[in-house]
């Protein structure tokens, strides 16, 4: 019995550094962001920070640029994640066939994931650039005129989505592929014996069994896409107009260029809240597979 108590004490001793670290690295910065967001705090201003209450949050309510950036972020997440999921799914099924050569192809397909997002953004910026871009040159070979990939509102959004899709589809593919590989073969055999057609097997067996993996990849990708800033930074700076100004980029310009820390922090806090809420919904779905 004393062993029990000892073990518990040992556990506390062993866990506390990790908890402290967690607090220092995770919780403290968030609390600090909340603290800053409650102040008029501009590095550019000679005035010292002063308490502002919820002023910064009220401002958000009237800030058209903020609501625009929320909408842009939502569009970006929806487009990027859905396309990545669809493509990743297809690729995973393709690679799941045991065909010669596919293994190498699958490994190669992972390269984009390893690239730095900033570099990806740069590469796509130059590929789609109207003056230097290879894309328009290729199009011209087919007699298609130059397209304003980065300077037309819709095209610019699609271009950024394209770069994100290019980089992250392999990751989605990998997760789905791993999940597919770990599905028990015998369940599919049982389904064949039960008389299901291949399409029914996909709909009734494969898809539901992949659900946890799909949800996980959705959460990871959605949160990641929400935080995406590099592609916009390299490719459009949020333009044209504000059509690719995602929330993180607005936060960045506010915090790092205009140095209005209080206001940027308020936006960041809103963003943390949105991410946390969104993740909660998903986590619950994962934890309770019954809620189909």
């Amino acid at each position: 019995m004393s062993r029990n108590r000892e073990a518990k004490r040992a556990a506390i001793v062993l866990v506390s550094p990790a908890m402290l670290l967690l607090f220092a690295l995770n919780i403290f910065p968030v609390l600090y962001a909340v603290y800053i967001s409650l102040h008029h705090w501009s590095l550019a201003s000679p005035n010292p920070p002063r308490f502002a209450g919820l002023f910064n949050y009220q401002e958000l309510w009237y800030d058209g640029r903020f609501s625009n950036s929320l909408g842009v972020s939502a569009t970006f997440i929806a487009l990027a994640v859905l396309i990545e999921l669809a493509l990743g799914f297809g690729l995973a099924f393709l690679f799941n066939r045991k065909l010669r050569g596919l293994e190498t192809l699958r490994k190669l397909s992972l390269l984009p994931v390893m690239a730095m997002p900033l570099v990806v953004g740069l590469v796509w910026f130059y590929m789609l650039n109207q003056n230097f871009g290879v894309t328009n040159w290729v199009l011209s070979l087919f007699g298609i005129g130059a397209q304003p990939f980065l300077t037309d509102g819709t095209l610019a959004m699609l271009s950024v989505v394209l770069a994100d899709v290019w980089q992250w589809t392999p990751f989605v593919m990998l997760v789905i592929f791993a999940a597919l590989q770990s599905l028990p073969e015998y369940v599919f055999e049982a389904a064949r014996m039960d008389g299901l057609t291949e399409r029914e097997i996909f709909r009734r067996i494969t898809l539901p069994l992949l659900r946890p993996a799909i949800l996980v990849v959705l959460v990871i990708r959605a949160i990641d896409a929400f935080r995406m800033i590099e592609l916009v930074f390299m490719m459009t700076k949020g333009g044209p107009g504000g059509s690719t100004e995602v929330l993180p980029w607005y936060i960045y310009t506010t915090g790092f260029l205009s140095l209005d820390l209080g206001y940027a922090a308020a936006m960041a806090v809103v963003m943390i809240v949105l991410v946390t809420l969104g993740a909660q919904v998903f986590v619950r779905k994962i934890a309770d597979p019954g809620a189909a």
Binding site: L122, Q130, N131, V134, T151, K237, G239, G241
Partner: protein, 447 residues
């Protein structure tokens, strides 16, 4: 088309500016101004510091000590300087300051006055406007390193071909641009900073200067404005004004005669498109002209003439002066102050300025250097800028040295881009810029 794409890799290389790099090395000898000591510099990814990175080894040998050069992108540098100012003792001996930033940094910088006096330093070799640009409240806060104006570069050969006059006014520029856009297959009229954010924001302010107006309500002083003493009541934004409207209209007019993708074009890219023959004119920070002047492949090399910013109706030509100064943080370790001063004297010495021009930095703040033959050969822009300086065509008030300057730039950069993208009318963009900035100034407590 194919010729243009060939420039992509080079563009890509210079594009990776964001990642800061730190260079440090050991001194090869203890002879030279550094006398075996180590100097810590916080710089910017602009040509002059890029040159320093390029010839770092050579410089350490010349300096006789080690040079720790910390090169940051603009916004990171900005933040870094402000954060460093909060420290008890500065982490840097020397920092790079952009001309419009002096207003913001004023409290954090050391006055060079006493040091200049004690060492008998002679600043008269520097251009008057460059030297005095760093004077605030009777204090000399920086030593010019790379002060240069945003000017207009144009292709002499092309203008001759189409029988066009040098574009000294907006009207002339638009006309020439239109002619060239129409007559030439591959060449557009004019390249400029229309990319969203800082690039476009600064363009708006400098173009507004072409109409003799500043973005905030400063005191007039002849054709120019009083910058040394900006009071809170001067902080009212003056965007939604006649000058603002004229500016917006001019930007919209320019958009028509610009190369494709203009809405995403900024800084280096405009110069590169010009260098490749993609446009006949470009707005350019003078120092960047090395991009084509020192490139044997460029059709613009040797065929370029320089003019101050073309002016709007009823205003004299005024090119916006900007660029980088060396300054000493106020919180420097007192024991290192002398070293910092000696290093700055060395870094801004005629020999070093000359050296920079030979490696891709076409700026000379010193008359003596400007007159050197090899300097003029490598950088034809230098004598041109010198002439503008003599003619009093350079000014810094377009970007007033107030802490909120970046906010002004940011708001304009976002709003005007909406206008250029067709999302908003000029009136709406001006109105909302005015409103947002007014709110900003109130928030900051000026009025």
């Amino acid at each position: 088309m194919t010729r243009r794409t060939s420039a992509a890799p080079r563009g890509a290389l210079t594009g990776i500016l964001l990642a800061g790099s730190i260079l440090a090395g050991s001194a090869a000898s203890a002879e030279g101004p550094l006398e075996g000591r180590s100097i810590r510099i916080l710089g910017i990814g602009d040509p002059v510091f890029q040159v320093m990175q390029k010839i770092h080894g050579q410089m350490e040998e010349m300096g006789g000590g080690s040079i720790q050069l910390d090169v940051r992108p603009f916004d990171v540098l900005h933040q870094q300087v402000l954060l460093n100012a909060q420290n008890d003792v500065s982490n840097y001996d020397i920092i790079a300051v952009d001309l419009p930033q002096f207003g913001e940094y004023m409290p954090y910088l050391t006055d060079f006055g006493p040091m200049i006096e004690a060492s008998g330093y002679d600043g008269s070799d520097f251009h008057e406007v460059a030297w005095t640009g760093a004077q605030f409240g009777g204090r000399q806060l920086g030593i010019p390193l790379q002060p240069h104006p945003e000017i207009l570069a144009y292709r002499k050969d092309v203008f001759e071909e189409y029988g066009l006059e040098p574009p000294t006014t907006h009207e002339a520029l638009l006309h020439a641009a239109q002619v060239i856009s129409e007559k030439s297959d591959d060449m557009s009229g004019v390249c400029w900073n229309a990319a969203r954010g800082t690039a476009l924001g600064q363009t708006f302010i400098t173009v507004m200067g072409d109409f003799g107006a500043a973005p905030i309500d400063m005191e007039k002083q002849g054709d120019d404005f009083e910058m040394g003493d900006i009071k809170p009541e001067n902080m009212h934004p003056t965007i939604d004004t006649e000058a603002g409207k004229a500016t917006a209209d001019y930007l919209l007019a320019m958009e028509e005669v610009s190369p494709p993708g203009i809405l995403n074009m900024a800084w280096d890219e405009r110069v590169r498109v010009y260098a490749n023959g993609g446009c006949a004119m470009t707005y350019i920070w003078a120092g960047r002209s090395a991009i084509f002047e020192q490139d044997d492949q460029s059709p613009a090399k040797g065929n370029t003439a320089y003019l101050p910013h073309p002016s709007g109706p009823g205003a004299p030509p005024r090119s916006t002066l900007g660029g980088w100064y060396l300054a000493i943080p106020a919180n420097i370790d007192p024991e290192r102050k002398e070293l910092a001063w000696e290093a700055i004297q060395w870094l801004s010495s005629p020999e070093m300025i000359e050296l920079y021009t030979q490696h891709g930095n076409c700026v000379s703040p010193r008359r003596s250097v400007s007159q050197l033959e090899n300097v003029q050969a490598a950088c034809p822009v230098i004598p041109a800028v010198d002439r503008m300086a003599e003619a009093g065509e350079l000014a810094g008030w377009q970007r007033p040295p107030v802490p909120e300057i970046q906010k002004i730039v940011d708001v304009l950069g976002a709003e005007m881009h909406q206008m250029l993208s067709g999302d908003k009318s000029a009136e709406d963009a001006l109105e909302s810029s005015q409103r947002l900035l007014d709110r900003e100034m109130r928030k900051a407590g000026y009025y």
